[in-house]
């Protein structure tokens, strides 16, 4: 049932034979130096023309006959007991077709859902919200971690403390490690709450046909939304259909059926008409997730040669009423250190719940650790890149440091003359990592039609990373046909299951399923072709749009000719993701170099250049992969310099839930970016693809923070590095 294969795996610096055991029906994993026809070629995304023409239909663009517009009333109070909710005023307004109240008796953040309406126009729905009266009894609230940790603090949840028990990790003995250190650095680093700000807000269109529920949702996980709706409405899976053709951004905030999706389906049922409900921008900021903040007490020790002897992190962070604020990942994994201790606590506040955001915990942890490393390296008078090299155990990252340093001219720039004048430049480097290995379960179906078309179907979604395109490229490669011959159908729970698009798992999980389905279809086509070619099935190959006898390319049939032999209309085959063969390596490295310019009079920081060196196994489409890295970096610029949810501690309300007061990086904030990929044949799946979206974002803010330190000679230990913080660090205010 299984076969043992010896694969040639590795990367430029290290090639080795690795033995793996794969199921019999699994194609041989792609190895180093495969000769690809489609994979690895810069390929414009397949849905590009639709998006550029404005004709890609997002959830926000779905319009159904008789459709109503929904809107949600939200609590203005950060913490309140909810008494009577009077919907009568709303129901009296002409054009209002449904009004519902939530049955929660307590609201725990300003912006929490209280009631909802559906009406014949968005304007009438807004009028209806204004006509609802709610009897709130405001309660004491917590708006920041200082307030939360006071002994007298009111509890956010009735049932317990505002701080969770510490999550501990311990390797070796840090007391011993600090005892061995020639230098110890200890300081506190903080990072802010960042919002996802997907351009398409959360929302859905829901339609009931009897007890059949169809929902168009702006989601990263159509199957997770389906499961939530099944549970909430007690429906069997076949009664719930979730569709997401296009999604206007997610970044980790769009899994599952949130309150807004559930309420839309409830409104549609009450009104007996389809309802569309997309959140207004302010609600998107308040209620749909965010990256938790962090307070990191960091202590590092190193020997005189720069070898780390101890790493200690005492951390707390808050995701509002949500959790997931830990940031210890980089402390445990980035560098070789025998003694590591981390202690993390989650703090609850009366603020909107966190949700996963692009490499949860890592950009925060990376900022604290990497700036601390620079401060320690300075104390030991060791070049910062050299310090990292001495503590790095990853062979791929060692090459990445080298390639990055060469492209960035690190040595040359490090030796540049001391900084003078009011505008100063500085450079920094930070290491990244991510585990873009994917998760089990993705399946795919490949179909060949008599007219020679090939079609790929899977219940994945394309959150803008180019999933449609890379899946089609894998199918085309395996079937030996041009990309233009492959049609892709995704984004519908009527297709076979595929994993939600989070944790950088779409490409690593779903490309192997597609390749296996294509291989199985190819086997069926070989069976049709073999008699006509007078050859054994085992001697055939699919290449250049033909099915032909290996080593005798003249004995060939075109793919279309073989398809004409399909008995009826079509031939199909399924495939699944087989995780994972361990192979050469399962993790990722990465590093980024940044140059900044700091105006020491105004405190304004500009990022001039970023060079990013990354590995993600096999890169299917370098063009869209570069787009993802650009995006990870630019979101990192926002995290480093601009973005912050501001919660007024006196009223517990977010004061900047807009796109003008919440500052996002724009075109003029974009540094020059160069992306370098190190290709690794890892043999972990039949494609060897790892995810890239998160890896690309981990190191950016850290590299910028380190570069600011280099520019002005003093560290700014809090993100975002705003002008006031720079001036404060310089002792100017």
């Amino acid at each position: 049932m299984a076969r043992r294969l010896t694969l040639k795996l590795g990367f430029a610096r290290q090639v080795q034979d690795v033995t793996v055991v794969v199921p019999d029906d699994e194609p041989t994993p792609w190895e180093l130096d495969e000769r690809f026809a489609v994979v690895g070629v810069d390929t414009p995304r397949l849905d590009g023309p639709l998006k550029a023409a404005g004709s890609a239909r997002y959830t926000y663009d779905i319009e159904l006959p008789g459709m109503l517009y929904g809107a949600i009333l939200r609590s203005p109070y950060p913490h309140a007991r909810v008494g009577k909710i009077d919907l009568a005023g709303a129901r009296r307004i002409p054009g209002v077709r449904a009004a519902i109240a939530r049955d929660d008796q307590v609201v725990r953040f300003a912006g929490q859902e209280v009631a909802a309406v559906a009406a014949i126009s968005p304007q009438v729905a807004d009028d209806a919200l204004a006509a609802i009266t709610v009897d709130y009894q405001p309660l004491p609230f917590i708006a920041n971690m200082e307030q939360a940790l006071k002994p007298s603090a009111p509890p956010v949840f009735a049932s317990g403390s505002n701080a969770t028990n510490a999550k501990l990790f311990e390797a070796g003995n840090v007391v011993h490690g600090f005892g061995q250190a020639a230098a110890v650095h200890e300081a506190i680093y903080t990072t802010q709450v960042q919002a996802h700000v997907s351009l398409e807000t959360h929302g859905s269109v829901a339609r009931w046909d009897g007890d059949q529920l169809t929902v168009w949702v702006s989601t990263q996980g159509i199957f997770t939304v389906r499961d939530d709706l099944m549970v909430f409405f007690a429906l069997p899976p076949e009664n719930v259909r979730v569709i997401t053709a296009y999604i206007g951004g997610g970044f980790g905030s769009k899994f599952g059926a949130g309150a807004e999706v559930i309420m839309t389906a409830q409104l549609a049922r009450e009104a007996a008409a389809p309802v569309k409900l997309m959140l207004p921008r302010a609600a998107e900021h308040l209620a749909t997730g965010n990256r938790p903040n962090s307070w990191q007490h960091v202590k590092l020790g190193a020997a005189a040669d720069g070898k780390l002897t101890a790493i200690e992190l005492i951390q707390r962070g808050s995701g509002g009423i949500g959790g997931g604020a830990g940031s210890s990942g980089p402390y445990k994994q980035l560098y070789n250190c025998p003694n590591v201790r981390t202690e993390e606590r989650n703090i609850y506040l009366n603020a909107g719940p966190s949700s996963p955001m692009r490499a949860p915990g890592w950009p925060q942890g990376c900022f604290g650790l990497e700036l601390a490393v620079d401060e320690l390296a300075r104390r030991l008078a060791i070049d910062r890149l050299e310090f990292r090299r001495r503590n790095n155990s990853d062979a791929v990252r060692a090459l990445e440091y080298e390639l990055g340093a060469r492209a960035f001219k690190w040595d040359e720039r490090s030796r540049a003359t001391p900084k003078k004048g009011s505008v100063r430049r500085g450079i920094g480097v930070a290491s990244g990592s991510w585990h873009g290995l994917g998760r089990p379960g993705s399946q795919a179906q490949m179909v060949a039609y008599r007219d020679g078309r090939a079609e790929l179907r899977t219940g994945s979604q394309d959150i803008g990373t180019g999933t449609r395109t890379i899946l089609a490229m894998v199918a085309a490669e395996e079937l030996g046909i041009p990309l233009s011959q492959v049609r892709v159908e995704i984004g519908d729970t009527r297709y076979l299951y595929a994993v939600p698009s989070g944790g950088s798992s779409t490409a690593p999980s779903t490309t192997p399923a597609v390749r296996q389905a294509a291989a199985h279809l190819k086997d069926k086509l070989f069976r049709l072709a073999a008699p006509a070619l007078g050859a054994e099935i085992g001697d055939l190959e699919a290449r250049d749009g033909t099915i032909r006898v290996r080593f005798e390319p003249s004995r060939a049939l075109s793919f279309a000719e073989v398809c004409r032999r399909i008995p009826a209309d079509s031939l199909s085959a399924d495939g699944e993701h087989v995780p994972d063969y361990q192979g050469f390596r399962t993790n990722q490295a990465g590093c980024q170099f940044a140059e900044v310019e700091v105006d020491t009079e105004t405190g304004i920081v500009r990022v001039l250049e970023v060079i990013a060196v990354h590995d993600a196994g096999l890169i299917i489409d370098p063009l869209t992969a570069r787009s993802q890295v650009n995006g990870g970096i630019i979101m990192g610029v926002g995290f480093a310099l601009f973005e912050e949810r501001r919660l007024d501690p006196k009223i517990g309300v977010m004061v900047n839930p807009t796109m003008d007061d919440y500052k996002l990086p724009g075109p003029l904030d974009t540094p020059g970016i160069k992306v370098i990929f190190v290709e690794v044949a890892n043999g972990v799946t039949n494609t060897g693809v790892l995810g890239l979206g998160e890896a690309a974002h981990v190191a950016t803010a850290a590299a910028i923070g380190c570069a600011v330190f280099d520019a002005i000679g003093v560290p700014v230990r809090s993100l975002p590095i705003t002008p006031d913080r720079v001036l404060d660090a310089l002792g100017k205010i």
């Binding site: 550029a52 404005g54 239909r57 926000y60 304007q123 869209t624 993802q628 807009t658 996002l664 904030d669």
Partner: protein
């Protein structure tokens, strides 16, 4: 930092934010009543923006629905809407032109950019009555998936789009800039899209695409000459 001027301000006095507020009045917007300037030119295809006296409040509309004539993508369309709606809402909810997106709703992100007499404006900031008498071009009027405008084509080829939600607005800003000056360089292009926010962070490829489109447009012009 971003250029936070709205596109409307860049168009000039006819459509400045000041004129918008003066013409419509914040209280009137809340009440659902638009006091608006009467266009002097006929709405049907005139390229002329309406001549307006500085203090020229000429008519009062609403709150009930009124019939308005618009020139959109070269065709005259009649719609009956409450005067409190914006041009963006009319495009999407009444005319089925879904390419133009609502993102911030306050002129801060550029996703709703359309052309008014060839100039880029934020359609979320324009009350529908103020759109009368102007040539309105949306992304659908620029080109289609099958027959793309050179800017659209360059966006596809250079992967200047990821999730694609900012893309129509971004393309409209670039197209307006290149129509105005096909010799635009990188600095001009950056300024032209400085009000367009892309959360996927696609700007480097947007710059590349815009420069490629500029080259393309210049060679088209040369061929015509």
């Amino acid at each position: 930092m971003n250029d936070d001027r709205t596109s409307a301000e860049k168009v000039g006095s006819q459509l400045s934010r000041r004129a918008f507020i003066k013409g419509a009045g914040a209280a009137a917007v809340v009440a659902g009543i638009g006091t608006i300037r009467k266009p002097s030119a006929s709405a049907a295809g005139s390229a002329e923006a309406p001549a307006v006296a500085d203090d020229g409040i000429a008519e009062q509309l609403g709150p009930e629905a009124v019939t308005i004539e618009l020139n959109i993508n070269g065709a005259v369309r009649q719609i009956t809407v409450e005067p409190r709606v914006t041009l963006l809402e009319v495009l999407r909810d009444h005319l089925g032109l879904y390419g133009t997106k609502l993102v911030c709703g306050r002129g801060a992100c550029g996703a709703c950019t359309v052309h008014l007499d060839g100039s880029p404006v934020n359609s979320c900031m324009i009350l529908i009555a103020d759109a009368r008498g102007h040539r309105i071009t949306t992304i659908e009027g620029l080109g289609t998936g099958a027959e793309m405008h050179p800017v659209q084509h360059a966006f596809v080829e250079n992967d200047a789009l990821q999730c694609g939600f900012c893309t129509p607005g971004m393309i409209m800003s670039v197209a307006a800039a290149l129509n105005r000056d096909p010799n635009s360089g990188l600095d001009e292009i950056k300024r032209a899209v400085s009000g367009n926010i892309c959360r996927c962070g696609t700007y480097p490829h947007v710059f590349k695409a815009a420069l490629a489109a500029a080259t393309d447009l210049r060679s088209l012009t040369e061929r015509k000459v």
